[in-house]
Symmetry: C2
């Protein structure tokens, strides 16, 4: 297992303020890990609205199915997350485990089970013994505190090498509101430690439908533009909670995602989600370089994104970046295989600001030394211009190193 | 670079007989490699029909475009292949290089340029100096011999660790005909050494359209069921040549792929293509295990193949196999992400004959020791039953090891 911290990690965990209406507790329930926290309980004041975006896997985890079933209620009183066991592909036992967890949490917080949201991350296929939550959630419910974001971010880590958090502030109808988010994932997509979880809380008052629309839109621009290995998890979960506490300070109650007063808030939410998504890519298993892939000139934004993901998911492009090799031939390959319109003879490719290929051939000014020097940096930008239309996309990923193999060939043993 | 031979290599190159109407020569043209052959000239007697299947990349190499342009003629007099330079993404220069190569070969063999087939494999984006073929092809044309299949297979190697060849014999209308094939590729798909090339010759007399139909059908069951890293080459090329020499011995001239006399021949061709495809997977970059993925019970054969390729291309499944870890949770993940119908609760998974998961959960009889012992073998079978319909597919791949990273992170340097 990789215990060393990613070289791409931020210098420290950001100072995350309390969100009024949110209280946090973490504990050691001994699910799988020893001597570290593995349970997170987040409690919300009555009136907190909720929105969620989940994995598109056809084999989703039991907690994902639970969240989908209670999400239409639109209100949340608690979030329970455990690390070490994903409760995925656990059949009827998995369904019993989520039902029991929700019951324990609802008892502890004196609310309805339909207001409890659940997420699990860790090994697939091992039954989760939810009875371990029995005393733990009760005790936690009595010890909750508002400013424990870092502890929360740490309790949900699996192969992550650093805790991930972000904060943004925005003006909402003349009142400042705050958005805080945490995430885990070392690999968008590393299903054994299944996998990408992110939780966002704000004191803004936003109705469930509006919050859902904002979250779905933001996800497209952030987590859905990030990849580590192209392997989609059974457990990907992003949930946003809006406590509405800022309404007491004069913030308007928002019921429509098209409300013009949402401009700054939506921008801040998108920016926070992008920040968290980039932190996940920077903690990609074995990552030593952070890669931004830009595609322009495609026939549509959708085609551009397919090409960008084809480049960002290519093992050959990612191993070349790991080897500090400006191997643009592999970028050509990845463009060619994406299955959407591309014209080799109009294609241009840049590494950083250095154009290496233009109009279907190597750039005449190509200077191996110059581009090799660029590849030694920690942040690599690969840009392609297709020359076909105005479609554009940006995707983030990391390089593909020996440590990815070590982490994933040896994980269960 | 990996210079050691793949542990999955056959014990030796098979004894491949001459095909009447085919003569072979190889030479050192100094394209990129030193002290090894890098040019193959294969000459065919007049009347040889030809069929070809090429990469679906939108950025194909110049030789692929050349072959596509001359294929409608249906007849071949020569094949020229070089290793070390793929002549891909070389723009106008690339087109000039293939035209010059065809002209040199046509002069050397006194035939039309439209009867010359070309393939190149090696680095992408470097201009190919076709003038190097000038004296070489002339000289080779005078030295051709019929029984040089191993030399041919060696001349087209790039990162391959062993030469690949196969032979099959079949009854065709009461006369025995022979099919010989060679292939290269260390990675279906490793575009710098771009990449999968295979050439097949038979003495059967089969008209171009019929040969094309047989080849396309066979490709679907063989090369298109094999993957190393999911990265589609700019240069994938499979060409079949039928000299018709067996007609002198009484074999019928076939003009229709639906001809009932083709049964044994078509079966032998499919079998030979599968043999060559498996050899390519067994020489996958860094491969230590050969993996067969079977999917049954899908809603259609097409859906089954998408799921099988999703499993076979998953870096997490492949690293688990490398680590001798029966990590069926990753198989669940790969089924879930394939984007075609799957029902978690009907899914069963086997490693070899050991059922590890059934109906959406771990098998009650699951025995880690037993399955771990199985995973230590060199040939790993991963089988899934979806329980939805009768669609089935089989795909071959290899595991994903540190050597893949080493080979591809360091290739150009």
């Amino acid at each position: 297992m990789a215990s060393k911290v990613s070289p791409l990690a931020p210098t420290g965990f950001p100072a995350l303020p309390a969100i009024e209406g949110v209280r946090i507790g973490t504990a050691e329930a001994g699910i799988r890990y020893k001597n570290r926290t593995d349970v997170l309980l987040m409690a919300f004041d009555p009136g907190t609205s909720v929105a969620g975006v989940f994995t598109r896997s056809r084999c989703p985890s039991a907690p994902v199915e639970w969240c989908r079933s209670v999400l239409p209620g639109g209100m949340a009183r608690a979030l329970v997350v455990n690390s070490g066991n994903a409760n995925a592909f656990t059949g009827a036992k998995g369904r019993e485990a989520v039902a029991l967890t929700a019951r324990i949490a609802a008892n502890a917080l004196d609310c309805g089970e339909g207001e409890i949201f659940l997420a699990s991350t860790g090994v697939i296929g091992e039954p989760l013994d939810a009875s371990k939550f029995e005393g733990v959630l009760d005790r936690l419910a009595g010890e909750l505190a508002p400013d424990r974001w870092e502890a929360a971010a740490r309790a949900i880590m699996t192969t992550d090498t650093f805790p991930k958090g972000a904060v943004r502030r925005a003006d909402l109808g003349g009142t400042e509101v705050t958005i805080v988010g945490i995430a885990k994932g070392a690999g968008m997509i590393a299903p054994d430690m299944a996998t990408m979880l992110s939780f966002v809380a704000t004191d803004a008052e936003i109705a469930p439908e509006a919050l859902q629309a904002l979250l779905a839109r933001g996800t497209e621009k952030s987590f859905n533009c990030m990849t580590v290995d192209g392997d989609t998890s059974t457990s990907d979960t992003l949930i946003a909670f809006a406590t509405g506490a800022a309404a007491k300070r004069g913030a308007p109650a928002i019921t429509d995602a098209a409300d013009s007063r949402l401009g700054a808030f939506a921008e801040a939410l998108d920016d926070l989600l992008i920040d968290l998504a980039q932190q996940v890519a920077k903690d990609g298993e074995g990552a030593t370089k952070f890669v931004t892939v830009d595609v322009a000139g495609a026939t549509s934004d959708e085609d551009a994104k397919r090409i960008a993901l084809s480049i960002a998911n290519s093992p050959l492009v990612k191993t070349a970046v790991a080897g500090e090799d400006a191997n643009w031939g592999r970028v050509v390959m990845a463009v060619g295989k994406a299955g959407v319109p591309a014209d080799r003879d109009r294609l241009s490719i840049w590494f950083g600001d250095i154009r290496v290929a233009v109009e279907g051939a190597r750039d005449k000014t190509y200077d191996e030394g110059k581009v090799s020097a660029y590849m030694k940096g920690q942040n690599i930008n690969i840009r392609t211009e297709l020359g076909l239309g105005t479609g554009a996309a940006r995707v983030w990923t990391c390089d593909f190193t020996h440590d990815y193999i070590s982490i994933n060939a040896d994980y269960r043993s």
